[in-house]
Symmetry: C2
DNA sequence: CGGGCCTTTGAACACGTTCAACCCATGTGG
DNA sequence: CCACATGGGTTGAACGTGTTCAAAGGCCCG
């Protein structure tokens, strides 16, 4: 194993106030004064290149990461070495919450060249005491992560392939929509294999689903560019109310 | 729907100091003085009879619940009305963390007559400011819940029935062991159907698995009483290292 | 004894997997 | 320039795990 040679991007101080994600991210709902206090503890920005790890299972926990831009995947590995992708994360979302118990319990890898803000947790804890609104929002984020995962269990546990895939697409759509992007077009950042892994399906099944959705006229598919033509249909599939 | 007539058990003040679960539950690791402070905010004990809801999806969030004795299941319901059990909880475990974001996102139902402590969240938040160790432990609990769920995704997403079932049994075993019970015998508190639902299998599959494990001499099965005869085998199955 | 519920067992089926071949775009070296 | 390798994706055919449907067994409690 030879570490790839790469030049670290200059590490710039991050600023929540100036960040386009501040309405979705950790400072959500804070007043200007409190955002400033948060800014003071937010650490450096860190570039993470495609396929690079942001953290690995077993790494000691020091900080959370807020995604400035780019995309990540997190995955669990079982004792037989097989992995299960547990989520895809995009700008404005927080990474590393699985590690608050002491060390990281999953791996996080960049799907494309990305940038995160490092949030030293010890300093964040200090700030919690001074900014109760921040603590409250942090608890909401943790709670939402728990609920998000329960919804993944829901589709892994009792939906058929078609329904899982529809839920997956709609979930991505709505997250991009919340970030101001089109709510009918999207560019997948992950490979078919990664989608399949996440959905508990094989790459072939995902490929067949895409082909079928396309041939039914529900989607336009061009490599990783997806356009939804029949949103109602997709929603009906996701809801399980279409036969 | 007629609400069942039942006499509410007298609501007693809960006491962490006197509770046998205090080493596993919210007060874990706190000094006596801090446990006393926690005691002051812990609300009443509440009896929840078998099949009764502790909370329902959509209920406003006011408090967390610590299980004193008994067992619960939590489940998600999709728009088609199908449900997915997302976890089984036992004494010393916390319920309601999915709701911190505002309202409950799943249902919690008692598997047997049980008792919980009500922990008013607003008062807990006040206490966080005064007892940092409590806040830190609370964050650990939330984080562990996230990791637990990721492990459920792992088996729902890429294990075969046999392996899922082995993982399920071993998980129960270890949790009972942590509570001082036998690490080879256990009494299932949930029906075959509930196990199947949790594992993403049908009741028939669960029944066949039990029969097979029994006939292979790995388990003794008598209704809901399970005794493990070949622990090594079970662990190998769970790890996926047995062919 | 009878009814209800949970569980077990059997047989046919179906969904998604597995295995294999092929496509296509990209990049590399002669 | 072509030959070739590579990685991601698609397609087809056979297979297998777990489901579905159906029936029967066991147990509790009235």
């Amino acid at each position: 194993m030879i570490a790839p040679i790469m030049i670290d991007a200059p590490k710039l101080k991050a600023s929540c106030g100036a960040c386009s994600m501040h309405a979705l991210c950790l400072p959500m709902g804070l007043g200007d004064a409190d955002v400033d206090r948060l800014d003071m503890i937010i650490g450096l920005r860190r570039r993470v290149f495609r396929d690079q790890h942001l953290y690995r299972r077993g790494d000691p926990f020091r900080q959370l990461y807020a995604i400035r831009f780019g995309h990540f995947k997190t995955y669990q590995v079982n004792s037989a070495g097989e992995s299960q992708i547990t989520g895809f994360q995009m700008a404005g979302e927080l990474l590393g919450m699985d590690a608050i118990s002491g060390s990281h319990h999953c791996d996080a890898v960049a799907l494309e060249d990305s940038e995160v803000c490092e949030i030293p947790f010890a300093r964040l804890e200090e700030l919690f005491a001074e900014v109760p609104a921040l603590l409250r929002h942090f608890h909401r984020i943790l709670s939402q992560e728990i609920t998000r995962e329960q919804n993944v269990m829901l589709f892994l546990g009792n939906m058929r392939a078609e329904q899982r895939f529809a839920v997956f697409l709609l979930n991505l759509m709505s997250r991009y929509a919340a970030r101001g992007y089109s709510s009918t077009c999207l560019q997948l950042r992950m490979s078919r294999e990664e989608i399949g892994n996440y959905l508990g399906l094989t790459i072939e099944s995902v490929s067949r689903l895409l082909t079928r959705f396309k041939s039914q006229g529900w989607l336009i598919v061009d490599k990783r560019d997806i356009t939804v033509l029949d949103m109602a249909r997709l929603k009906a599939l996701a809801a399980g109310t279409s036969g």
